[in-house]
């Protein structure tokens, strides 16, 4: 197992460098000059000012030199400096990480638990009205654009009913402390986490239902039935455990994206997370911030892929044996 993990970590490091290099060229291939965007925000600029900006941020150097400098920085865990925000990229990401993790992890848990439960329920009552309702609702969540759900949720629960705050991480100027602050954050979390969770909840539900139904037709399930095991035990121990493999894969993929944030949700709900940081950086061609977010996201995907592979070995003895 240790040798397996060491090999995977080595491969992951190589993939990560390749991803950083590819991202670097892709971002620089997009039209637009960060100096021009920054100067544009000032309403006026001359060539001296543009040149000053380019020199200040090393944008006047050849592209390969810029890549070399960036990669050597990465090896020293230096993610560079944000042109626009005028602070180290690592600090920017670190500042935004707690809000993003709170949102994405909550949405992850909600979607995984409720989605899987709904999938199991639907598969146990396949063809009945409860299955039809669950499947239809899941399809609706799956097909409806996230930003539309977000705006409708704000209109209903925030503007019309005034039950929940419509945006932000906490009440600005509320000066809450201790439990009151936690409660305040929790209230702000409800709408964005549910909105973000609905899509994945639908995905987990559909995946679980399909997988449960597929597994339930397999020979070992028939054998279990023939042995006279109770249906509940067959569902839990035989079907559910085997049906979980694709769900674990999907959960691993989603978990890897937790750090990358949720651009739409964070934008609509003014959630101060990494997704918004990335969105703003893209508009402003703040290359280092974009590369930094991509780097951290890619690293997380690789780490969670590794964890998923290890979990496979735990869940499925056949993989362990091979």
């Amino acid at each position: 197992m240790l040798r397996f993990i060491a090999m995977r970590l080595f491969k992951a490091a190589i993939i990560l460098i390749a991803i950083v290099t590819l991202n670097f060229f892709l971002i620089h291939a997009a039209p637009g000059d960060p100096a021009a965007v920054m100067a544009g925000e000032a309403g006026a600029a001359d060539e001296i000012f543009l040149q000053q900006l380019r020199e200040q941020f090393g944008l006047d150097k050849p592209l390969l030199t810029q890549l070399g400098l960036y990669l050597s920085g990465i090896l020293q865990l230096d993610l560079g400096f944000s042109y626009r925000q005028q602070m180290p990229v690592a600090d920017l990401i670190w500042d935004r990480l707690p809000a993003t993790l709170l949102l994405t992890f909550t949405a992850f848990v909600i979607s995984l638990v409720l989605g899987t439960l709904a999938g199991v329920l639907a598969s146990a009552r396949v063809g009945k009205w409860s299955d039809t309702i669950i499947s239809t609702v899941a399809l609706l969540f799956y097909a409806t654009p996230l930003y539309w759900i977000a705006l409708m949720a704000v209109l209903l629960f925030s503007v019309q009913l005034n039950w929940l705050p419509g945006f932000g991480y906490e009440t600005v100027g509320g000066n809450f402390t201790g439990f009151a602050r936690l409660l305040d954050i929790a209230q702000h979390l409800v709408l964005p986490a549910l909105t973000l969770g609905l899509f994945f909840m639908a995905v987990y539900m559909r995946m679980t239902r399909a997988s449960m139904l597929e597994v339930s037709t397999m020979d070992f399930v028939k054998t279990a039935k023939a042995k006279g095991l109770k249906p509940g035990i067959i569902q839990r121990r035989h079907i559910f455990r085997n049906a979980m493999l694709p769900v674990v894969t999907l959960a691993g993929l989603q978990a890897g994206q937790l750090v990358g944030g949720a651009v739409l949700t964070e934008t609509v709900f003014a959630w101060p997370g990494i997704g918004r940081l990335m969105f703003d950086a893209l508009a402003q061609r703040d290359y280092n911030v974009l590369l930094g977010v991509f780097f951290v996201s890619a690293a997380m995907v690789l780490v969670f892929n590794l964890i998923t592979d290890i979990l496979y070995r735990v869940v499925d003895p056949r993989i362990r044996a091979s």
Partner: protein, 516 residues
């Protein structure tokens, strides 16, 4: 629409005419800031959001009323020598920086002559007329010019010449000075905290040099990236002030219908935002003056103003905004006249070559405006292809002259020498910047007039020069002027004296108070 517009107009009237009670001390203002500023150090960054927040922290020597006449700020009085070469400012003597250090004329000399010469591109262009800046005593500053510079008295505004503390910046690397994160100014509000992505908090400067000011205890600037969410923030009472441009124009009517809501388009007179379409004078159909005139006649600008801008702003009559000095309407006028446009196109023999139109990627209003113009142009037979870009892509295409027609708007800063000439003089034709003469218009007479206008002495002499320039330009149509933009500031009616100068919210909340 008419009902909505009349409601909007009546609420604006209300905002303008309401009889104010005595100002009330205390309270908190909640305002939106969009986008989040990159920095609050106004000496280093002068973009709109930075100035809107930092205009409360930093100050300059003067403010300007809605007729662009100077008013005291750090300078309580000033004199201009009759030859127009010497400007003497007398400063308040009880001013302190937010860290308690005394402010003096040395800070002004350092800011204008050292710090801003290095960091402020726009001011640098004006400072090239300055021979010396001296401080004969602690409360007097003298600017001596090499030659007269007409708009000089107009450059002492916070965003143009912010005064920065010499004791903090002298001898340091300005851009990496740690104080940039905790800005120290002389303004009515002090910086307290900035939670990135969430809010910025400013608190009352108890040692402000004008007794009784400011009235408010604190200002929270809320960072809300989505326009619809900003509208919701106002509707749900989280914020009380939506600065101009915070919400999409199609939401303005709905929001101004809410109770206790006022709206004003005042406060933009100083920067005078004027919108137009760049027309590529170098190549394609737009290189022909008759085609450019046809574009002017084909556009229904009144419709755009009413349908897309809620009736706010004005149809542009000249390259100079009507709030900018030396504006004249004694120029060729282009009323909506599709038949005239068709005649001009027939006269030039337009062969239907498609033209590429770049909308301004600043939101839905601009996209819709481009669609409306496209429709106008197609009605007279001009084939239009829309080119979608984001802000960075738009900047690049304009800088490299890779367009036929492109929306934009630029600030005029109160004087043609500061914000108008740059678009039309031939020495400003150069690839690499989207704010110079990117249309490629060349006219030696215009070059001569703008050169004369900058250094002429006396209002009448300058008016004569700029009138002639406006007449030539409106006849040549180097660009297609659209609207003098009217950005509505929406706010609760019990917030008083919010906009009191030509610089609007960018001038800070010094005089604002909340009526109980």
């Amino acid at each position: 629409m008419i009902k909505k517009l009349s409601l909007l107009a009546s609420s604006m009237l209300l905002a303008a005419n309401v009889a104010y009670a005595d100002p009330v001390t205390g309270g908190r203002a909640n305002a939106v800031i969009q986008p989040e500023p990159p920095s609050l150090m106004l000496g280093l960054v002068q973009n709109g959001p930075t100035q809107m927040v930092a205009g409360n922290i930093y100050e300059s020597l003067l403010r300007y009323d809605e007729n662009l006449e100077p008013m005291p700020q750090l300078a309580k009085s000033w004199e201009i020598a009759s030859d127009g070469l010497t400007y003497t400012f007398h400063l308040y003597d009880n001013v302190k920086w937010h860290d308690g250090e005394p402010f003096s004329a040395d800070d002004v000399v350092f800011s204008a002559d050292v710090f801003l010469r290095e960091t402020h591109a726009r001011l640098r262009n004006s400072l090239k007329y300055v021979e010396s800046i001296t401080a004969p005593d602690a409360t007097t500053v003298v600017f001596k010019l090499k030659e007269p510079f007409g708009p000089f008295i107009g450059i002492f505004e916070g965003g143009t010449m912010p005064i920065v503390p010499k004791h903090i910046y002298e001898g340091t690397d300005y851009k990496s000075n740690p104080a940039n994160n905790t800005p120290i100014g002389t303004g009515p509000f002090k910086f307290v905290e900035w939670v990135k992505g969430s809010h910025i908090l400013l608190q009352k400067n108890e040692d402000y040099y004008i007794d009784g000011l400011p009235y408010l205890d604190e200002i929270y600037w809320h960072v809300i990236p989505d326009a619809a969410s900003r509208a919701v923030a106002y509707e749900t009472g989280v914020v009380d002030i939506l600065p101009g441009g915070s919400v999409e124009n199609f939401d303005v009517g709905r929001l101004t219908d809410l109770p206790n809501t006022c709206v004003t388009d005042k406060g933009w007179e100083f920067i005078g935002p004027l919108s137009w379409m760049w027309l590529n004078n170098n190549e394609g159909p737009t290189a022909d003056k008759r085609f450019r005139k046809a574009v002017m006649y084909a556009m229904d600008r009144e419709f755009a103003k009413d349908a897309l801008w809620n009736g706010l702003g004005k149809v542009a009559q000249s390259p100079v905004s009507s709030s900018t000095r030396f504006f004249t309407d004694d120029v060729t006028q282009y009323d909506y006249n599709p038949e005239k446009a068709k005649e001009l196109l027939a006269e030039m023999g337009y062969d239907g070559t498609p033209v590429r139109l770049l909308p301004l990627p600043y939101g839905e209003t601009w996209q819709r405006w481009a669609e409306a113009i496209k429709q106008n142009l197609e009605e007279v037979g001009i084939e239009v292809e829309m080119v979608a870009t984001d802000v960075a892509g738009w900047n690049q295409k304009i800088s490299e002259w890779d367009y036929d027609m492109a929306f934009t708007y630029l600030y005029q800063y109160g004087d043609p020498a500061l914000g108008v000439g740059r678009t039309y003089i031939s020495s400003n034709i150069a690839k690499g910047s989207p704010w110079n003469n990117v249309e490629g218009y060349k006219n030696p007479k215009i070059d001569e007039l703008f050169a004369m206008g900058a250094t002429a002495v006396g209002k009448d002499a300058r008016q004569e020069i700029y009138t002639e320039a406006q007449q030539i330009l409106t006849d040549d149509v180097p660009v297609a002027w659209l609207l003098e933009l009217g950005f509505p500031t929406i706010y609760r009616c019990n917030v008083k004296d919010l906009v009191t100068t030509a610089i609007g919210l960018n001038d800070g909340f010094r005089d604002a108070y909340i009526e109980k």
